[in-house]
């Protein structure tokens, strides 16, 4: 498979779509059509919605991370100004539990009620809800609900939760073990370690993170009793999935439930899951027969949004005498939080351990994962979801292994890479990598860094008492999770196809309906680029509709970097079906055999007769006029597709950072950050670049700043942006990007997915750089986030420079 290189170290230049011809539009860095509404304040987010007679809801959440509820006294709240209703678990006849959508053989499925009745298991557990006329009144009244608790011991960390003497969070489960899971060949791996020349081992803590979409979760629910229609506007990454799950949770027929995601202010995974709050808003609206708005406060998002990562891992690597990796053994304790969130069981298992081969040829791998219930918010997908954790384990071990066998880490990687001619490549952990060329991204990154020159500079600087380091991160990502049959075998309770409709209007304009649901990724723009290219229709004549169950027939949503690979594939298939139907109409009109009619740049043409042609827009008009179409044909020009790819896609790349560490203060300064990514074909390079930048910022956030910290009672002590450090503009360095393009054979666009790449790649690039800088101090590892104090302590732990 050919690999091309694109160099845009100074950034991709965007283009006005008016300056691009339709035939060049796919692959052009055009400006986004979403933006005019967003930069002018016109765009409508959920909390912007006002409805007549609308009420406001606020939640009474637990003061403790773990407690028995003894009594809930709502009398004072009920008396307060503007209060419309107060509900406790006793008042609400809730038919369903919150479901878990991915099952494992050993999984303990525990009850997850939407309002806690007898016990609270994390601070976000809601005990009562209050509905009032005004926003402030609802919160006043929520404060006035008096709850008596009997506090229980709590536990926040998976290792401690799995100890025998830990407080048991779900008595029905008997212990805090949510599951015990394994992958790979235990025996072969054991043997590899026994025969190894050298082994390295690291204990790695991949800390819990709070997603921090800047828009808090929100829902506006509106019920029409005469028609039994229940309409929800909500901050969703996947409205159809939410509709299906919620119809069960609140026992409302799916066809009478409509969910719309208006403008959504970021998600990063946190708006995939089915939470209690949205269901409660719906139930309140149904009960009151008035619109109800609930908007989370930031404090609430900190204790309710599903958090990410939370792994305690021991990783070991076996090596032969030539520095070849011969085996990998990993044991991980994964924090699942208080309950199993929507897709939670899949994250530390199938989305994690299957990526442990990284970019390397490793003969044997064995991984065990124990999931642990704890008293923190449910842990589920957060940007990268399992794959950053895997990449971190592999790349930290690779750095350590290279040091152990005394090889330059770049050369160690090169030697162990899956060779370019080995694709498709089957790993020992059940993945078949589609395509790749790992040497190339390494070479490009080294060139951008002036790697050899840097090593000299580093040497020189050390003599002057300055500590520079370079860190590499060869990452691989699996996205566009599919096909449905496979994920079904692995435990998914849903298919992972995507659906689209491509519909011509009679006048020749086009509307595309697709079941993904963007929240900042620029889908309207990129999907229109795809359709303009396929149909040869002017970009401005194409409208894209997403995120509304009333408009879009079916969909699975946006997460796991799947939109381009799976949603884009569905759009291409529908467009091709439209072209085929159009071909028959064109042939009929041109009095030719359909096989002789060629379609190019929006025109059907009889082969060899350039004057006999008709545009697809004219064909569309004719199809609706239906005065003269083939006899056996229905009128209209549209098509529906469900695209179920044959396999995942595997983007990859090399990220690298050069840092300087001040040994006096533990402060870390970036000198360079370079990102060479291969995400397959790029529909819009400017949007690709934006996704890479944003992902890196979140990865650097994890490496240096972010951590959800809990005290001994599992109380969140980083409970606001004053304590949880979301990176600011001055925390993120200037990023140089470049890309190579290796097409994926698994979808018609040859794309691979880009949404999570930066987040997967960045953490270990930074940690490896710091560890490299601190080599004179014999520092093997520092846990993230690399706060100044941790770095300073690591420097001083071994008694200074060696």
């Amino acid at each position: 498979m050919a690999t091309e290189e694109t160099d845009h170290e100074d950034g991709v230049q965007s283009i006005d779509p008016d300056d691009v011809d339709t035939e060049d539009i796919l692959g052009s860095a055009i400006e986004r059509r979403e933006d005019p509404a967003l930069v002018s304040g016109e765009a409508e987010y959920t909390d912007d919605i006002q409805k007549p007679e609308m009420t406001h809801m606020a939640m009474v959440r637990s003061q403790y991370a773990h407690a028995e509820i003894e009594e809930v006294d709502t009398s004072a709240a009920e008396e307060m100004d503007g209060v419309v209703a107060v509900y406790t678990a006793d008042d609400l006849d809730v038919p369903g539990n919150l479901p878990v959508g991915w099952l494992l053989d050993s999984l303990e499925q525990v009850n997850h009620p939407i309002l806690a009745g007898d016990r609270v298991r994390y601070q976000g557990d809601a005990v009562a809800i209050v509905v009032a006329e005004e926003r402030y009144q609802a919160h006043d009244a929520a404060d006035a609900v008096d709850v008596e608790y009997e506090r229980l011991d709590a536990v926040a960390h998976p290792g401690e939760a799995l100890d025998d003497d830990a407080p048991v969070i779900h008595e029905e489960a008997g212990s805090n073990q949510a599951f015990d899971w394994e992958i790979g060949d235990q025996e072969a791996t054991k043997q590899a370690f026994e025969e190894a020349e050298t082994t390295v081992s690291l204990d790695l803590h991949n800390q819990l993170l709070i997603p921090n979409a800047i828009e808090p979760r929100a829902t506006v629910a509106d019920y029409h009793p005469r028609t039994d229609e229940l309409e929800l506007d909500m901050t969703s990454q996947n409205p159809h999935v939410h509709r299906l799950l919620m119809s069960g949770v609140i026992d409302h027929p799916e066809h009478k439930l409509s969910i719309r995601a208006p403008e959504v202010g970021g998600g990063f995974g946190s708006k995939i899951h089915h939470y209690a709050d949205e269901a409660l808003t719906a139930l309140a609206a149904k009960d009151l027969e008035r619109p109800v708005k609930w908007t989370a406060t930031r404090t609430e998002t900190y204790i309710t949004d599903a958090q990410g990562r939370g792994h305690e891992t021991t990783g070991e690597m076996a090596l032969d005498e030539d520095g070849n990796i011969t085996g990998l053994r990993v044991h991980t304790k994964a924090n699942m939080g208080a309950y199993l969130s929507t897709f939670a069981p899949s994250i530390p298992t199938y989305l994690y351990a299957t990526l442990l081969s990284g970019q390397y040829e490793i003969p044997t791998i064995y991984c065990t994962v124990e999931g642990a219930f704890t008293n923190v918010p449910p842990v589920d997908a957060y940007r990268g979801a399992g794959r950053p954790e895997a990449s971190y384990v592999v790349e930290r071990l690779v750095r350590q292994a290279a040091r152990e066998v005394d090889m330059d880490p770049a050369e160690f990687r090169r030697q162990n890479f899956v060779p370019g001619d080995a694709f498709p490549y089957e790993t020992p952990v059940a993945m078949a990598y589609d395509s790749g060329d790992y040497q190339k991204t390494l070479d490009r990154a080294k060139e951008m860094l002036n790697y050899e020159e840097f090593r000299e500079r580093q040497e020189q600087a050390r003599e002057d008492g300055r500590y520079l380091g370079v860190g590499l991160s060869a990452y691989i990502e699996a996205c566009g999770i599919a096909p449905s049959e496979l994920v079904g075998e692995l435990g998914a309770q849903a298919g992972l196809w995507e659906s689209s409709v491509v519909r011509f209007q009679p006048s020749g304009t086009v509307t595309v309906y697709v079941g993904t649901s963007g929240h900042g990724q620029g889908h309207d723009t990129t999907y229109a680029q795809i359709v303009a290219d396929k149909l040869g229709v002017d970009y401005d004549d194409i409208e894209v509709e997403e995120g509304d169950t009333d408009e879009i027939p079916q969909g699975m949503g946006t997460y796991g970097s799947r939109s381009a690979a799976v949603g884009g594939g569905a759009i291409v298939e529908s467009a091709e079906k439209v072209i085929e139907k159009g071909r028959k109409i064109a042939a009929h009109q041109l009095e030719a055999d359909p096989e002789d009619v060629e379609f190019e740049n929006g025109e059907y043409q009889v082969a060899g007769a350039p004057d006999r042609s008709v545009t697809i827009q004219d064909v569309a008009g004719a199809s609706y006029l239906a005065h003269d179409i083939p006899d056996d044909m229905e009128p209209g020009l549209e098509a529906t597709s469900f695209f179920d790819p044959e396999n995942f896609v595997f983007p990859f790349g090399m990220h690298a950072a050069i840092v300087e560490v001040d040994p006096d203060t533990g402060e870390i300064e970036f000198e360079e950050y370079v990102a060479v990514d291969d995400v397959g074909n790029q529909i819009n390079p400017k949007i690709v670049e934006g996704q890479i930048h944003g992902g890196i910022a979140q990865g650097i956030g994890q490496a240096l700043y972010e951590s959800a910290e809990y005290d001994d009672n599992a109380q969140l002590t980083t409970g606001s942006m004053q304590d949880y450090a979301v990176p600011k503009s001055s925390h993120i360095p200037e990023i140089k990007t470049a890309s190579t393009v290796t097409e994926s054979p698994h979808n018609p666009l040859g794309v691979k997915g880009v949404g999570e790449a930066g987040t997967i790649a960045a953490p270990q690039a930074v940690v490896n750089a710091v560890v490299d800088a601190l080599e004179p101090f014999d520092v093997d590892h520092i846990d993230m986030p690399l706060t100044n104090e941790r770095v300073w302590r690591a420097i001083n732990e071994n008694g200074g420079e060696h």
Binding site: R32, Y136, I214, G265, G520, A697, V726
Partner: protein
């Protein structure tokens, strides 16, 4: 706790209204007046999504009581330009300085205030100026590009207005 009568001039239009003393300016603008451009993100004066200009200065509308703003002139993103064509609004689009857009109104209102004081900033200065605005999507680089590019445009526009000579440097 009686409501208080206040006068707010928002985007050039004077409004008289009654508010509870505790009501935050951002809620008055959004819930009472329908200016939903400024967004609520963090509630702790950190994220800046609610930034508006009050008497010409960028402020976080989640940390101003509406009663404190009595008599003030407020500009929200909706009033920054007539057609969404302020150089910053254009540059944010051209440079892909936004993704989900939630932080963007606040980001632009801060940058607009900043560029009035400092028409020719370097990249590091722009990063510092935007310290009170958190973006979770873009990684900031394209935002910095956008502000840099808007500054150049505004500089050129000013120069054109002054007779077409572009001055070098200067603060």
């Amino acid at each position: 706790m009686t409501e208080q009568d206040i006068t707010l001039t928002v985007n050039g239009t004077e409004h008289e209204l009654s508010v509870e003393p505790r009501e935050l300016l951002v809620h008055t603008l959004r819930d009472d007046m329908g200016y939903t451009g400024p967004n609520v993100g963090c509630e702790t004066t950190m994220c800046g999504a609610c930034t508006v200009q009050m008497d010409g200065d960028a402020v976080k509308a989640c940390t101003v009581l509406a009663v404190q703003a009595d008599g003030a002139e407020i500009t929200t993103i909706e009033g920054l330009s007539d057609d969404g064509d302020h150089p910053l609004q254009e540059s944010f689009q051209e440079e892909h300085g936004l993704q989900c857009g939630y932080c963007t109104p606040g980001m632009i209102m801060t940058a607009a205030d900043y560029l009035e004081d400092k028409p020719d900033p370097d990249r590091e200065e722009i990063r510092e100026a935007l310290e009170g605005n958190i973006c979770r999507c873009t990684g900031y680089q394209n935002i910095v590009n956008a502000v840099e590019s808007a500054a150049e445009k505004m500089h050129a526009e000013d120069a054109a207005a002054d007779g077409g000579v572009i001055e070098e440097g200067g603060d």
